[in-house]
Symmetry: C2
Subunit: 173 residues, 2 copies
DNA sequence: CCTCAAACGGACTACCGAGTCCGCTTACAG
DNA sequence: CTGTAAGCGGACTCGGTAGTCCGTTTGAGG
């Protein structure tokens, strides 16, 4: 069996869900206590599974990234590289903005988690679009995500689509 | 005269300078103690002049904004509205990036300080450029600064000029 | 000089959040 | 059913910061 008692596995799940919700709402400043309360466990339980707050944050992001990866794969399947890129950017933004605080968490974490898989897929999408001439060449693939994320964070509540448009237009050749 | 003893005035000055330096380096999370230490005063002295940390931060930003205002006035003097805008944006960014943490402070403070004067000048510059057709019309004047600031914050140390270029290109009609 | 209010500065309080510890509870194997 | 190790959770420690208070120092007017 999974080497984990049933209640332990259940709590692990609950904590991850609660953490996602709380980090999404409050960004990296969310407190472990609040997460534990929402999960309905003592905060000692949280720390047993995730020795530090950052570990927990990584885990949340990791799970979130998995969803984005599948979008990225779809995009790579398309045969219009430029449209694939812009479509993917919008879709990913759409998904990400359901959990705005996570952007700040990703920024906070810096390099650490950022699933290598997504990193790679993203690079492919960007450089493919650049080769096809739909995307300016003087940006590194690794610049694109931070730029977009920054605009999304800065945008006032209802306005992020407009902000995104500006940045995406700026990225066109 | 200023109704303020000589040493008081001198310390006020020192605190403001130290605060500028520390906030510029560490953003809004800088601690009052560090500022007081750098200023060479006890932290009680800091609190006497600036009852809360935010008050101090506002004061620092206020002073910083004054410098930007003079750039804005120059820009309004130019008779090429579009170039005035883009030139001003670059100049202000250049100035602002000598004190990167202040961007985060401005974001942190939200509406509160934001000198009304600069607000007004900025609006004029933007809408003048829009009327002249050099700037896309689907952005509000109040969107421009946050967008640019976001890009500057997100940029890795040496790279902010490239990030700025992307955003500015996105703002062109 | 001398006085004294203004100004100083550091000890102190209050609070908050991360991370530890340990006595109690409970899943589950035998 | 029972023994026991895995798991639980809250009390506790520790560190760090905003803001207060008050005994001491000092600038400046008379």
């Amino acid at each position: 069996m999974t080497e984990l008692r049933a209640d332990a596995r259940r709590n692990h799940e609950r904590v991850l869900d609660a953490a996602t919700e709380v980090f999404a709402a409050s960004g990296p400043d969310a407190s472990i206590d609040e997460i534990a309360r929402l999960a309905g466990v003592g905060h000692g339980t949280v720390f047993r599974r995730f020795p530090t707050k950052d570990d927990l944050m990584y885990a949340v992001i990791e799970r979130h990234v998995a969803q984005i990866c599948s979008l990225a794969e779809e995009a790579l399947a398309s045969d219009d590289p430029a449209e694939a890129f812009f479509g993917f950017a919008r879709a990913a933004a759409e998904l990400g903005m359901t959990t705005p605080g996570l952007h700040k968490c990703i920024v906070h974490c810096g390099e650490k988690p950022r699933g290598a898989e997504l990193e790679e897929l993203g690079t492919k999408i960007v450089s493919r679009a650049q080769r096809a001439g739909g995307l300016r060449r003087d940006v590194e693939p690794s610049d694109v995500a931070p730029l977009i994320r920054a605009a999304l964070i800065a945008a006032p509540p209802g306005q992020w689509r407009r902000y995104l448009d500006v940045v995406l237009d700026g990225l066109r050749s």
